[in-house]
Amino acid sequence: MTAVQKISKYVLVFLKYLSLVFFSIVAVLPLVSVLITAFKTDTEYQQTNVMTLPESWLNFSNFTQAFVKANMGRAFVNSTIILICTLAASVLIGTQLAYVLNRFKFPGNSLIRNLFLFASLLPGVAMQVSVYEIMWKLHFINTLPGYIVLMCGTDVISIYIYIQFFENIDFSLDESAIMDGASYFTIFYKILLPLLKPAIVTSCILKGVGTYNEYYMAHLYLQDQKRLGTVATSLYTFVGPLGSKYNLICAGVIISLLPALIVFITCQKQIYSGLTAGSVKG
């Protein structure tokens, strides 16, 4: 290697790391500034620049205050109930549908697939104009069960993840079970469902993050915020009179981010692979 080649190689490596570091900073800077501010006392917040580090990293008073003011205890309970019910129901519904669509050939099979695919193209915000009317008629507004039923509805990505997974499970497995006289229900619950576990984990993480972060529909259909607020909508408490107490708001924001952060750190790989799997076909 000549000297010129060597130098240009070092320059390239330097540029590579420079851009990685730069964009990583861009990504975390807004979050770091929020974290810094969350630890500041009221006087500190008013007197120092936002980017000055707080005097004490152990000042948790903003966090406790935000937690109480935004009624976040209740919100975490609600979000947990919604998460568990939605995930359980949509796993069951999704895997069953994928099973039928993948294993049985029948007229209308591809029509059903296309109906789901087309549904995913409709922008959610636009649909809520009339979904709201239907939720009203069903008396689903301001009830947790109603909201949960709505959230179980259209979820094309996980159906596709399941169908893809079914495609890789050998058909001879079903056939030998049929020979042994097992019913289709037994085949599905006893043989196939356990094999689907990785796909279920992947889609649960994706759907879970989406459900936890959902605020538009939650705000629309769970209007009684004191009783039915979720973690995301509990942050609405800080709109209005509290709107300029950013040290408090930042603490609230950080609390709402913690569950997502924990899931991200523990399940990074599944999140990445889930996104990739969902995008290829979707």
Binding site: I112, A126, E133, Y212, N213, A232, L275
Partner: protein, 334 residues
């Protein structure tokens, strides 16, 4: 398993017997497994879709009397400046998504090769995708406030505060500020998708290319690009339709004030605050039609482009095959 599923009830068997047979079981399981998802799909997607179409011809609120007005709502959509005119803002979001895609592709290419601390960089850049919308609203209201985070950082870089605009109020810049938050949120996610696609490329291709002395740029152009064409196409289509239906950044950060109200923000306001459900429905239908038209046009466009490219690519593919063959020969000769 045979493909005959709609087996009619054979003569000489009772319904009960048929139900117990394989075919009967099959139909039973199909009904049991599909009825709930299809009911949900119908109730929360296709029924509202049909209703919305109906609403668009009425002057109505969610509760109360309805008055048939024919095409008046549609005429209003095109006449009112805050409705159809709001689609101009989509251009900002389209430009933003181009930046986002290019950036994501660049970073994905870097991260697909050996990089120290690669997964940490990846994690940092991806995490914004997991932040909930309301939090994003607060984070960026805070970030862009006069003299706060963004201004401070720019002052560190030598800018004077007096020369800096009000990021969310100044009409010349506020839409760009909002688009930037959207890029911030999604570039890491796009990057992860691209990394996934690049990783699925056969690594022998890179080895072959390296042995032939191809540089990084050539590797990118001839090996990476062709193999992730599909996912890029998909993302371009998604980002254009996404730009037309841009909603979240203005909704959570500025609430559509100071000329940042995109089409959907205006529609949301008309539907849920003013309760002019008919007009909002007409707006939704108009935009849906535009989105479908855009999607179909793009699909046709990409089909046309790639068809031409494919013809050219035959040469490239042949070259690639030759390279692989050469590599195999070299390995065998060793």
């Amino acid at each position: 398993m045979t493909a005959t599923t709609r087996s009619a009830k054979p003569a000489g068997r009772t319904f009960g017997q048929w139900l117990k047979s394989r075919d009967g079981q099959k139909v039973l399981v199909m009904i049991a497994f599909m009825i709930i998802p299809l009911a949900l799909l119908f109730t929360f997607t296709y029924l509202p879709f049909a209703e919305m179409f109906g609403f668009s011809f009425y002057d109505m609120k969610y509760i109360g009397t309805r008055k048939f007005v024919g095409m008046k709502n549609y005429i209003k959509v095109f006449q009112r400046d805050d409705c159809f005119g709001a689609l101009k803002l989509s251009l900002y979001y389209m430009a933003g998504s181009v930046v986002q895609l290019v950036l994501a592709l660049y970073l994905a290419t870097i991260l697909s090769f050996k990089v120290k601390g690669g997964s940490i960089f990846k994690g940092f850049m991806f995490f914004p995708f997991l932040v909930n919308g309301i939090a994003i609203g607060f984070i960026f209201k805070f970030f862009y406030t006069r003299g706060f985070v963004f201004d401070t950082v720019l002052q560190w870089c030598g800018f004077q505060l007096d020369n800096l605009p009000y990021w969310l109020r100044d009409k010349r810049i506020n839409n760009i500020s909002l688009v930037a938050t959207s890029v911030w949120r999604y570039f890491g996610q796009n990057m992860v998708l691209f990394i996934g696609a690049i990783m699925s490329v056969d690594s022998e291709l890179y080895e072959a290319a390296m042995l032939d002395g191809a540089n990084k740029f050539q590797q990118f152009k001839y090996i990476i690009m062709p193999s992730i064409k599909t996912i890029i196409t998909l993302n371009v289509i998604l980002s254009i339709t996404g730009s037309l239906s841009a909603f979240e950044p203005p909704y959570v950060i500025t609430d559509g004030a100071n000329g940042t109200g995109t089409y959907f923000v205006v529609m949301n306001e008309i539907a849920h605050t003013q309760q002019k459900v008919g007009l909002a429905s007409a707006m939704a239908i108009v935009l849906l039609l535009i989105i479908f038209a855009a999607t179909i046009l793009q699909k046709l466009f990409f089909k046309y482009v790639f068809k031409n490219a494919e013809d050219e690519d035959l040469n490239a593919a042949a070259k690639r095959d030759k390279k692989l063959a050469k590599l195999a020969a070299r390995k065998a000769g060793r």
